[in-house]
Symmetry: C2
Amino acid sequence: MKSIFNIEKIILLLFLSVLGIACQKEIDKKEAHQPKEHQAFPYKMPTEKPNFPLSASAERMFDYPAPRVQDNELFSQFKYTRLKGFDYNNGDGTITRRDPTRPIKVGDTYYLWYTKRHTKVPPIGWNNAAKATDEIPSTDWDLAEVWYATSKDGFTWEEKGVAIKRPEKPKSGWRSVCTPEILVWKGKYYLYYQAFDEPSGLKGDLCPVSISYAESPEGPWIHGGDAVIPFGKEGEWDHKATHDPYPIVHNGKIYVYYKSAYNKWPDNRKNYAVGHGLAIAEDPLGPYTKHPLNPVMTSGHETTYFPYKEGIAAIIYKDGNERETVQYAPDGVNFKVMSKISLVPIAAGPYTPDAFTNTKDGRGITWGISHFINAGKNGGRHSIIARFDCDLSLDYNEPGFKQSGVWHKPAVYFAQGLGKLRSHPEGR
Amino acid sequence: MKSIFNIEKIILLLFLSVLGIACQKEIDKKEAHQPKEHQAFPYKMPTEKPNFPLSASAERMFDYPAPRVQDNELFSQFKYTRLKGFDYNNGDGTITRRDPTRPIKVGDTYYLWYTKRHTKVPPIGWNNAAKATDEIPSTDWDLAEVWYATSKDGFTWEEKGVAIKRPEKPKSGWRSVCTPEILVWKGKYYLYYQAFDEPSGLKGDLCPVSISYAESPEGPWIHGGDAVIPFGKEGEWDHKATHDPYPIVHNGKIYVYYKSAYNKWPDNRKNYAVGHGLAIAEDPLGPYTKHPLNPVMTSGHETTYFPYKEGIAAIIYKDGNERETVQYAPDGVNFKVMSKISLVPIAAGPYTPDAFTNTKDGRGITWGISHFINAGKNGGRHSIIARFDCDLSLDYNEPGFKQSGVWHKPAVYFAQGLGKLRSHPEGR
């Protein structure tokens, strides 16, 4: 029995050791979160998380790209410049340009695509969609087409003409083609866009994603497919819409981020939520496989994505608890908040030289084109496109973009007035 | 040996069981984070976190007060109204009103205190502090005093006169008394304020916190003490300043939140960071004990605190990675981000009926007074106070404050122009 006893003893000691190591690790973990003797936070900002007890807020400071926002590569202010070269019929609402793509540079020329509507009258509005005709648009993006322009400096543009025309009825998009985004893949150019078969607003924004491709950014564009990003199954979050397709080349594949409003009809429209899914394909024309963790982003409306380091960064505009943030996902799927931003560019298309290079070292962005949807005068509703500049780049460092406050004249605040909310119950 | 062998065997089995349980727990933990069979996120917003794999963003949605921002009690837009009853000498920079306290209601009357400067000339600026005289102010808050006004409705105010005068030289505050905050404690009124003994800017913003008290909100005010919130020791984050004292009655004690800029001098001023500490006392006049986890807040400049549920909520304006957020700490110490906000009221003093009631059921806020520091015309720098309204209240629900976007005219964006940043290196 002696030898067996000894073997059992050895096994016993072995298990005791393993258990001991496991327990010690557990104790270490706990001690790391227990207040030790008091040590005051220093006047000089530490570069790494100090090894003494911190408040929750001080702990988090070191989870961001830098403890000081001024040093945070994924924080920026945004500066805006009016573009030269686009006519809007004196702002009467009959011409709109909106939803710009990312500009791409081919040779020494930037190319830009966008939704253009040029109608005899301004839109009559979403709620009047039933009264829309072949000449009267319901929304700002009804009866629209995809146009393009070129520029040498990104400030002054020359409109070149239509890229994607509305096809003959009843082909998909006969009513309106809009909200383009560009992909460059294996030497070819692909435009993704939304194709309407009825005035927007009639049954919501029902507009599957179509795709066309060309050998040159100047076209001609060949129809490549309709409804390439399939809707979800009945009852799934994205079963009524796949909007705003946003392709990036990542992990050797085509990652298309897309938006879907959910929790909307048939309930009150105000109960909507906006989510963003990811669909992946090996060829631009599909088939696309949706990521099982969709929605990968639960804040943001029009959302902007760009390669950053080994993953994907995103600029989140309005909607959701994490509205007005920059986020980052090393895997392109699991995004975390990196900064909180102000005056976020709307429907932003940043110049992103590495959007299609399958990079694992994304360098970020410094400028792009966005839109304003409320540019009209005297109720003539239309949109304009504009340039934004920023410093969300690893290669550019401009303190002018890193200030943590935005100064508006008081009139900007007073313009956000109480209006009819002025009459409040006593005791509010 | 047999009996011993059996005991060892039992011990061995016992340890194996313990280890087995420990391991199983570890496996359970891991499985909870492993994708199980695919289940799609539903079209109808779940009220609780679904029990299937989610993206990081979708997980976080359920960590906020509500998954939809529109339902988030700690999210609000802010609406602004110009106050009636205050004269500013036609905006020539000689009169300033800033840093309002929270208004308090006594009987049917709201009382408000604020920094008032009325000088012969506008301030000559921080960088010219050496040229300041007894009649020429350096900064907007130099040569100032604490004044007060009353109102029946919070919109129209009547200025009543000075509350805290500058004392005779060399008493603390002889140069300027400013940035007041109010506390009501055991039937008495206490004003906390900053006391300058030299023109602001000469050696920074060196201004310890003084305190005065009165039996009535109309005074007379009796000097209660100077430097009541002590500076930190040399090398500690708050060793050069304790600014913006903000008292709340919590846990039966007086919680004073205060601001300190650190990481600043002697390095570049632009390298500053802003932290917020908590000092606790059993009597308004002190002594104050600083919380060992200070700074309890590492974003925000002027920061606003109010009782909320069992803890304290905060409105974070500019500065820090968590600029422009609402945060909440059930213990008043460990704050977490509850929402991302826009056009945040500056130096906000919200009407907070339960600020001094030692509540464990804080109800939130719906309006208050804030300031704008850039109200002057033609370079005459001065500040104005204004009213803000919001819905950060558990008792008030106004969808008009819960919209997730803010619409500005494009001119508001273009006013944030590139300026001299226009000339960028090629390839940026």
